[in-house]
Every structure is written in C-alpha cells, then in structure tokens.
C-alpha cells in the first residue's frame, strides 16, 4: 500500500501495537485492506501464523477470498500465503488443505459452530497459530443471532486459550451507534485492553446530496398520495436517461420485481422510439439492451445469477439495478453515482448503509428517499430530522441470555471438559459455576467429582451437541422454483412459499413473470412456466394465536381476561390471493388458496386489558387500535431492555383471552373486517418469540412486571412528537390509521396494565379471575 487513507493508517498502526480494532467507516472505504495487509504481513514473518475470517454469508466469504488472492498473487513464489474458504460447500480434499496449509481461512459463524469448534483437535495447528480473528459485517451479529455468535466466539476464545494463542480482533462494521460496544459485547475479553474504534472516514468523499421526496397527495379527502413505486420509477428513469449509474433499494422482493419490469418497459419503449425515428423500429433489440442495462437483484436468485449481476455492475454493463437489502452487505460492486430508496428502510442505520452505496472516489453523489404513504414514512416526511439529526440505532446482543448461553455451555463441555473453577471467557468464575451447576441439576451436563477440586463438567453421550443447537433458528428446507424443463430458477424461503408459490401465483424473476402451475409442498418445489401476464398476485394472510398457560396447561374454559406467560401456538393461514394489474395497481380478481398453515410453537407472554379499563375505553375499534399501538411500543421497549433485535419478537392483539383460538391483529398486514369485529372483545396484547421453541424474551419482559410497563409508558409519554410517532406508537400499518389511535388512549391502556402488574407483585391478586 503506497498511500493508505488516514483511517487505514491508524488501523494498521494500532494492529501493529497489538490492539484490537473496530472499523466503522463507510462502504467502500477500504476496510478489507485493513485486515488483509496485517494477515499477509504476519504470514510472511511467521509461516505458522494463521487468521480466521468470519463472514455472515458464504457469498461474502467467497468474494473476500477472491479479493485477497489477487493481493497474495503478487507475492514472490517462494513466499506463498494461502487463502481458503472453509464452509459447507468446501469439498473434503480442499478442507484438509485449508486446515493444513491456508494462512487465512474464510468461514461463517455456522461453520465455526458446527464444523470447526467441535473438531478442534483437527484444527490444533490453526488455533495454536491464530494471530487474527476478523469479524466482517459486525453489525449483522445482533439480536438473537448475534447472541449466539457471541457464544460461538466465547467457545473459540476458550480453545485459543487452550492452544496458547491470543488472536487480535479486527472487526468491520457498517455505521451503527457504538460499534465498539457491540464488539466488546461479542468479544468481552477485548475489554482488558480496550478496543480501538476507528470511525473517522478518510477516504475521499465527494459532495453528497440527499433528497427526500414525498409524493403529492392525489385525494385531498383521504390524504392518499401517489404510489411510491411509480414515483421511484419516474425518478430512476430520469437518472437512467442522463447516464447516472443507479441503485434502487426496495423494501420487498415484490417491489424489486415490479420496478425492474417497469424500468425495462420504459427503457425499451424509449430505445425503440428513438430508433424508430432514425432507422425504423426494432422492438426485440430494444428489449434485449434494456435487459442488459437494467437488472433486478434479490435473495432467492441462484448464486450464479447473482454473481453475474454483480459482475455486470462492476464492469458498468448494468447501469440500473433494483435490489433488496441483499446488496446492502459488503458485496463488491464498486461505487454508484446515485441511490434511490423506495420507501424508508425502517432504521437510520440501514438508510445510511444503503445511501453509502452511492459515491465514487471524490465524485459527487446523490441519494433520493421516496416516501410511501405508511405512517412511518409520512412521519419521516413530516420531520426529516428523525433521519438526519439523530444517531443511528445501536445493534444489541445479549450473549448471557440463559436460553442461549446454556446450550453453548454444553457444546463447550463436549469440546473440552469444563474444569471445576474454570471461568469461561466473558463470564466470572462464579457465574460460570452457577450456570454449570444449573445445567448439571437438570441433566444437561454431568458433574464428575475428582480429588481436591479437580472435578469436571462433561457431556455424556456421543452425539454432537453443536448439531442440536441452531444458531439461526430452525431451518426448514427451501422451496425450489423449477421451469418446464426442470431447471431450477430460484429459491424461496419456507415461510414465504405460501405467499409466493401458491398455484396461480405470478412469480417474477428480474421482471419476467412466471405462473405457478403446481406446488409440491412435501417435495419443496414449485413448477412454473413463463407467461406474459398483465397482473401480479398478492396473497392475503391471516394470523391466529393461542397461548397455553404454562402454570395451568389443562385449563379448557377460557377465562374472560388475564395476564401470564405460556407456550404460544401461532398459525399463519393464507386463504387467498388478489390479482393486481401492472401499472395501475388496481385489483382485478381474487382466487382461493388451499395450502398447509405455517405453524410456530414458541414461548409468549400476554397482558389482558382489565375489565374496568375496557369499560372506560368503550369504543371497540379505538380500544383495538390503542392495544395495537401499545403492543408495538411494548415490543420495541422489550427489545431495547432485553438487548435483542426488534425482529426477534413479534406482537399481536387477540380479541379476548388468548387461550382460546382467535384471529389476531398484527402489525404486519392490514386486518380484514372479521378481525376488526372480533377485536371488539377485551383486547389482549401478546408478545411472542420469533424463533421456534422461544428464547425466553417475551417471558422475561413479563417477569419484569410493572417496571417494564413503566418504561413503555415513559417512552410513549416522553416522546417529543406531537400526535405520536414511529418511535412511541408504532410505525406500521393501515391498522393503526384505520382505528385512529390516540396517545391518551394508549397511555391509559398501558397504565391499566401497569397497575395490574403492580398489584400482582404486591399481593399476588393480579392475573385476573381464574
């Protein structure tokens, strides 16, 4: 490196002095070089030096290895530095070579958890020589997943200690608040020396223009605004015509497909129009060149297609790409001139991360945020300072959550018996002992006494414990989308299959519509054929929640109301779908869907509105709306207090006690009429854990009792906004709008819940009549 940027220089010098480093500079500011260079240097100085590089996805690991090989390829042949990928796709012979010879090994947390740590004796050489531990895309390790990763790193650290190494941590993060705190939470041992946080970006940055566009109101009485996808289409087309390379970020996969199709239509019409003037029309050629210049990009595309689109972007062949957050991570696509955000991404961190894709070395760049008519977007429209003046959100993890810590302790004990008196990294000796005894009492570990305190906690049984611990929640097999020749076109997540792959659905890939002819649920595949449909489909989903009281599982007669914790059975039904015309977005038909329901068994907590408070809030619609807003606030505050991601929890409002099946309102989708009516009963707020089996989050929030609700009330009351804002009363949905939520109602409802919780704590009388 002849001329490193200032922040690179600081990072390299801190690493040279043995510090642990967190880099939180912008996209494309040369963060990768800050770990590549020290790794190569260490390997050249000492051929037994090793580095482990952790990436959240396989694709990122592969990209990084390619980029690093182009660096090591310039080294003289007598000083080779090996770089290798080690993940689930690595063939056995290459695995052996990676273990034996590679200096830098790129892998992911899942592989570290299940493939490396349990077999650490085969990795002894690597672990003994470990000089650097690279955590790229640190900000993705948050919430429950991040808490699992923290425990995987805890186990890694313990084994490093065992083999006598103390690697330096190099973490790279997108812009988040307190990146150093996240690094320390994931790697508590770095607190000894303190982490060096480098967040001052010294890469050349041109002037950036940020424009917020709020589409104009088309109906004064209802306040409905122009469709934001259509506005995004127009803005992106303008940029396209002027030759500005543009990335359009959409919030959903469907929006990506729509936008890709619209932009290609515009481009092709314009091209053939232009040619028609000069040489006579040539529709197919225009379509082809539009297909090359304008691309779609999202999860679900096959890896080959994604690599090809990335290449086309880097080489400038593709000029406009519509994408989901799949391109938000560090996929190497070079810089763009402009970024258009179709809808507010939901967090300030994601907004800045996506906007950061625009800007090439010192050249001016443009970011345009097109607001949708959702309350959150409109809130941003009314007070843009919400995005620009406040600090970005913090990524939170809680590796000491017992639900996560305990299974990883079992993994650790299988890796190496845990000696009596041993302190696991990031835990005190007392806490380690307490957690181990807790497990031993319940049969999760076996305690084997030895003379003079030499006993140990061990795992009995030969099956791998790590195989039983899912760090990303339960994994159901993906659905494959097959064309008529049986070729795989795309992959769809299990939970999304009923929404996108029901028979009759239009499933677009880069704008090309395919009609689903048959869905083989058990075989996990859908057969599609290319069609030229004038419409797309939107599935309607319905949520039902039932909570079985943990203390009284036999109870059959549902009480009128109550509060408590229990096992939740959550069912999402997809009863039908709507056909929506391209262009106008008008509803032109409806079809039924008969598919298995998606079920989730998890843990939950619920809070019923006490009857007296219900009587005071007499209008059932307002009551339901206030409950939904309160549920939203409770979920966000719970995530804050429990150090988890907001997405790790879900909220819903049932009409009546949740021990009886009832249709629930949730924040995600507009409720149908039936739900509205049913919600006219006594609303119960339900928080449930998103991962199957639960992680004790909702239960924990309930156990905090009145204190928890006080925090929620403080947030709703103390927010500086006028009529309620996304922070205090919830971003989403038509639901809140339709019900007309008012802050005093929400506070009154929360106060009633708080009083009840305080009563229960004082005299055990709460919890409602049974």
């Amino acid at each position: 490196m002849d001329h490193p940027y200032g922040h690179q220089e600081i990072a390299l010098s801190a690493l040279e002095h043995g510090r642990d480093v967190v880099l939180a500079t912008s996209t494309a500011s040369g963060k990768s070089l800050c770990f590549q260079v020290p790794i190569v240097q260490a390997a050249l100085r000492d051929p037994s030096a090793r580095a482990l590089m952790l990436f959240p996805t396989k694709a990122l690991a592969r990209d990084q290895v390619e980029s690093m090989r182009s660096l090591t390829g310039q080294l003289p042949v007598d000083a080779p530095v090996g770089v290798a990928v080690y993940d689930g796709d690595t063939p056995p012979a290459e695995r052996r070579a990676a273990r034996a010879r590679a200096h830098a090994i790129a892998t992911n947390p899942d592989m570290l958890h299940r493939g490396i740590l349990p077999h650490h004796d085969a990795w002894g050489r690597v672990l003994a020589g470990l000089r650097y531990l690279v955590l790229d895309e640190l900000h993705t390790y948050r919430g429950l997943f991040g808490s699992h990763v923290g425990n995987v790193l805890r186990r890694l650290w313990r084994l490093c200690r065992h083999y006598g190494s103390r690697p330096q941590v190099i973490a790279c993060s997108a812009t988040i608040a307190e990146p150093g705190a996240l690094a320390e939470a994931l790697c508590p041992w770095t607190r000894e020396r303190g982490v060096e946080v480098i967040d001052r970006d010294a890469s050349p940055q041109g002037p950036r223009t940020f424009v917020v566009v709020n589409p104009k109101v088309v109906d004064e009485t209802t306040g409905v605004r122009r469709d934001y996808i259509k506005v995004t289409r127009e803005i992106t087309s303008v940029l396209r015509r002027t030759g500005v390379s543009t990335l359009a970020f959409c919030r959903t996969r469907r929006a990506v497909e729509l936008l890709t199709r619209y932009l290609r239509d515009d481009e092709a019409r314009e091209l053939s129009g232009r040619r028609a003037g000069a040489h006579g029309g040539d529709e197919p050629t225009a379509r082809r060149s539009a297909g090359t210049a304008i691309r779609g990009y999202r999860g679900g595309y096959l890896p080959d297609r994604r690599r090809e689109i990335e290449r086309a972007l880097r080489e400038g062949e593709a000029r406009v790409v519509a994408s989901t957050n799949a391109l938000e991570l560090g996929v190497d696509i070079g810089g763009m001139d402009a970024v258009v955000l179709a809808g507010y991404p939901g967090t300030r961190a994601a907004t800045w991360q996506r906007a950061g894709r625009a800007g090439r070395r010192g050249r001016p760049s443009l970011a345009v945020l097109v607001l949708s008519s959702s309350p959150l977007d409109q809130f941003v429209g009314a007070s843009p300072g919400f995005v620009f003046d406040r600090v970005v959100e913090q990524a939170r993890v809680d590796p000491d959550n017992p639900e996560i810590l305990l299974p990883h302790l079992r993994c650790a004990a299988q890796e190496l018996p845990i000696a009596e008196g041993e302190a696991l990294p990031g835990l005190s000796t007392d806490d380690t002992a307490m957690a181990l005894e807790y497990l031993a009492e319940r049969g999760g570990l076996a305690y084997e006494p030895g003379p003079a305190g030499t006993g140990a906690f061990v795992v009995h049984g030969g099956d791998s414990v790590a195989e039983q611990v899912q760090i990303r929640g339960a994994l159901e097999e993906n659905f494959s989308v097959l064309d008529e020749a049986g070729e795989v076109l795309a992959q769809v997540d299990y939970e999304d299959a009923p929404l996108y792959l029901h028979p009759g659905a239009i499933y677009p890939i880069e704008g090309q519509p395919y009609e689903v002819r048959e869905l083989d649920w058990d075989g996990r595949k859908a057969s599609v054929r290319a069609v030229s449909a004038a419409y797309y489909t939107v599935a309607v989903s319905k949520l039902r929640v039932r909570v079985v009281d943990a203390n009284d599982p036999e109870a059959t007669e549902p009480p009128g109301w109550g509060t408590g914790t229990g096992y939740a059975h959550v069912v999402r039904t997809v009863p039908g779908f709507k056909k929506i015309r391209f262009g106008t977005h008008e509803n032109i038909g409806f079809g039924p869907i008969t598919l298995p329901d998606l079920e989730l068994h998890t843990t939950a907590a619920y809070w019923g509105l006490p009857p007296r408070a219900a009587a005071e809030l007499s209008d059932p619609a307002r009551r339901a709306g206030a409950a939904l807003a309160a549920a939203h606030a409770m979920r966000h505050v719970a995530a804050l207090l429990l150090m988890c991601d907001v997405g790790d929890l879900r909220h819903a409002v049932t009409s009546g006690h949740p021990s009886a099946w009832g249709i629930a309102l949730d924040g995600g989708r507009g409720p149908d009429a039936l739900a509205q009516i049913e919600a006219g009963g006594v609303p119960h707020i339900v928080l449930f854990d998103r991962n199957p089996g639960g992680a004790g989050l909702a239960v924990h929030a309930h156990a905090m009792g009145a204190a928890f609700l006080e925090r929620v009330i403080a947030v709703v009351r103390g927010c500086g906004c006028g009529d309620g804002c996304p922070t205090c009363m919830g971003p989403s949905t038509e639901a809140a709008e339709q019900y007309g939520v008012e802050r005093p109602d929400v506070i009154a409802l929360l106060e009633a819940l708080r009083r009840e919780a305080a009563l229960a704590a004082a005299g055990g009388e709460g919890g409602g009549p049974r």
Binding site: D121, H162, N401, M434, A446, E448, H460, G461, Y567, G694
Partner: protein, 425 residues
C-alpha cells in the same frame, strides 16, 4: 439483571417443566483418583503355561509368537525401516475401545490395550481404563508417556485397521487434551497395520475381513461372550454414566480388548507362516502379490515358482485353456512384471511369450511382448507379428510397425514365440 436472577427466573419459565422432569444424570460418585486406571498383566507366549485368569478361556489353546518370531513376522508383513528385531525395544501391539467413530465429536477413548515382549517368551499387557470422561486427559498423558518410552524408529506399532482408526484418533485426542502440541507428531514410529495384508491374502475368501472373523477362520480362536462393535459403544457409555451399575459389562469390554491386543500377535504370526507356505495356489498367488506390493521380487518369484513351472511345462503340449490356467497365466504375468521392474527384460519377455503360447491372443501378454520387441529388442517385424496376433490388436501400434517394417517379411507368430520355447531353468 444478574445471571443468578435470570437462572432463577428461568426455573419458572415455560419450556422448562419438560426438561427439568428428566431424571438428573449426575450421581454423586465416590470414584475420585486420577479418573483412570492402569493395570498390567504378564502373559506367557506358550499355550502350555496357564494364562492370567482375566483373559478367560478364549486364548487357552492359542500359541503366541516369541519376540524374535514376531519381529520376523512383522518384517515380512510390512516395510519397516530395518527389518529384524530390536530386542531391547520390541513392537507395541495396540488397540483402542472408544465411545464413537473417528471424527465424531463425542468419541472418547475409554479402554486402551498395549502389549509388548518383556522377555522372548513373555508379553506384558498394559490396559488403561477411563473412569470418567474428565479423566481422558490424564489417562492419555500417562499412555503417551508409556508409549514414548516403548516405541522408536525400529519399534513399530502393530494394529488392526490402525492406519485409519486407532492412530489418527489417538493423535487427535492427544492434541485435543493438550498432551502434545498440534505441531508435533506424537507417535513417530513405524506402523504395521495388519488389515491391508490380511485383505491381500484373504479377501473374498470368507464373509469379511474383520478381526473376529479372521480369528475364527484362520486362528481357530473362538471367543465366549464377546461384545460386538456397536455394543462396545453402548456399554462404555453406560460405564461412564454409572460405573456402579456397569462394572460387569466393563469387564467384558476389557477382556475383549485384551484378547484383541494379544490376538494381533497371533494373527501376524499366522499371516507370516501362510506367506511362507500358502495352503493353495490362490493363496500362493496372493502371497506373491503381497511381496510385490512391498517391492520384494525375490520372495515373490520364489512363491510363484511352482505355478511358473506348470506354465512352462504346459508350453506346446497342445493343452487348451483349462482348469488352473488362469492362475498360471496370472503367475506368468506377475513374474514378467517383477522381472521387468528390476531390469531383467529378457526374463520378462520369456514369461510373456509363455503366456501367449498358453493362451493364444491374450491381450495383455501380446501387448507387453510387442512393446518389448518394438522398443527394447528393436525387432519391428517380430513385434508386428506378436501385436497382430492379439485378440484386441492396437491399430496405432500396427500402423506404426507396418510403416517401420515396410516390405520386410513378417515371421509367423508361432515362430517368434518359439524362440522362448526352451523349458525354463
């Protein structure tokens, strides 16, 4: 909230009731100590002297090899740096019993048997037994110390399937418990794995090549109340989880392991004797192949001699292919290959010619002999005659040879082969 509070709260959480209802697997045990036990017994090699009672009756009538005999046997079974005995450091017979397979996370080494001669007619058998999972590190450290003192550049390990199981597993567990550093090879010694030579001799000649099968078929060793592989895993877990209740079962595994270790020496000896004196022509040919694998042409050719004699005798007698012919032909081809490898090309050519005469048109023999005549003897006309007479002639070779011979006369193939017709000496 402290971890203690969170754990206390968790006790009442849903999802716990089912888990806590499971019976705790922890029991308070009196067994302290190092976590393992080492026991030594001395075993006389002669079947006439009574054997230690812990061995049961399994080995009662089995004669074990004396030290020099075992050393000689190992020399003939595998390539060792210096064949022959190193009397002060004899071979170490080794066998592990584990709670799982290689590469399985929960595979703990639980019983280790190792034996070596302490006198020409006496073996010392040391057995390590794990008493709790947490004792593995201490046990392996003790085992490592004992082995390092025994093995060396001239003192091999002897195992059955140890190349793919016992030794790699032992190496990994030694690294895992920090007994040796990952960069060290803890067991640097030659290794005689009895499975490959056993396969070479007896493949397809019994139901399988497992140690128990070979013991029964080749050593007439019949075990009473023995435990099978899968059963061992189960019994060992029972023992580690509840030592009191599984003492009897452990004793069965321990005896199984001891008999395994000792029968290794008997098996090596038997294989050695069969290599010297095969029981039939098939075994004779396989024994020769074994020596070929170890690049020992002399003993291989010596073993083949009776078959080669028969091949030579059958020359020109007008016998068609018949019974025994395949073995003779295979012996001829193997002998030719052995001769060629050590540069005796004429001797090799004679064997190929014999095969060609015995089985006219034999592709492999014609091909090899034609190659020899073309490239080494440089007689293209004769090479062409031999190549053309193959059942599957190679067109490229024929074309090339035709170009080279031009208009020269091509001798009849019988005349060419007849040049090697004189009986073998």
């Amino acid at each position: 909230m402290s971890l203690a509070q969170r754990l206390a709260q968790r006790g009442a959480a849903p999802g716990e009731s089912s888990r806590s209802s499971a019976p705790p697997s922890t029991r308070v045990r009196s067994s302290g100590g190092e976590g393992f036990r080492r026991e030594e017994i001395v075993v006389p090699v002669s079947a006439r002297v009574p054997r230690p009672a812990v061995l049961g009756d399994d080995l009662r009538s089995i004669e074990l090899p004396r030290a020099p005999v075992l050393a000689e046997a190992l020399g003939s079974l595998a390539r060792l740096p210096k064949a022959g005995a190193c009397p002060e450091r004899p071979a170490v017979l080794l066998d592990l019993e584990t709670t799982g397979l290689l590469g399985q996370t929960g595979a703990v080494i639980c019983v280790v048997g190792a034996a070596w001669h302490v006198a020409p007619d006496q073996l010392c058998l040391v057995q390590w037994t794990l008493h709790r999972v947490g004792g593995e590190a201490a046990m392996l450290a003790d085992l490592h110390e004992a082995l390092v003192a025994r093995v060396g550049p001239r003192s091999p390990f002897v195992t059955f399937n140890g190349a793919s199981f016992d030794l790699p597993l032992l190496r990994r567990r030694l690294v895992r418990h920090g007994v040796v550093r990952p960069t060290d090879d803890p067991l640097r010694a030659p290794h005689v794995d009895l499975l490959p030579p056993a396969r070479r001799l007896w493949r397809d000649r019994g139901p399988d090549c497992r140690l128990g099968t070979l013991e029964a078929r080749q050593l007439s060793l019949h075990r009473e109340g023995d435990v099978g592989g899968a059963e061992v895993v189960e019994l060992l877990w029972q023992w580690l989880e509840d030592p009191e209740g599984a003492r009897e079962d452990l004793a069965r595994v321990q005896r199984h392991n001891r008999v395994d270790v000792l029968s290794l020496s008997a098996l090596a000896w038997t294989m050695h004797r069969r290599l010297q004196a095969p029981v039939d022509a098939v075994e004779r040919l396989r024994a020769a192949r074994h020596h070929q694998r170890l690049e020992r042409p002399d003993p291989a050719l010596a073993l083949l001699q009776p078959l080669l004699d028969a091949l030579a005798r059958s020359q020109g007698s007008g016998w068609g292919p018949g019974r025994g012919s395949e073995l003779m032909v295979a012996a001829g081809l193997l002998a030719a290959e052995l001769e060629r490898r050590r540069g005796r090309h004429d001797a090799a050519a004679r064997r190929w010619a014999q095969v060609c005469r015995r089985v006219p048109g034999h592709p492999e023999a014609h091909e090899a002999l034609a190659k020899h005549l073309e490239h080494r003897a440089r007689r293209p006309a004769q090479a062409l005659a031999v190549a053309a007479a193959s059942d599957t002639p190679c067109d490229a070779r024929l074309a090339r040879l035709r170009r080279r011979t031009g208009s020269a006369a091509i001798p009849p193939v019988d005349e060419v082969l007849g040049a090697w017709a004189e009986p073998a000496v």
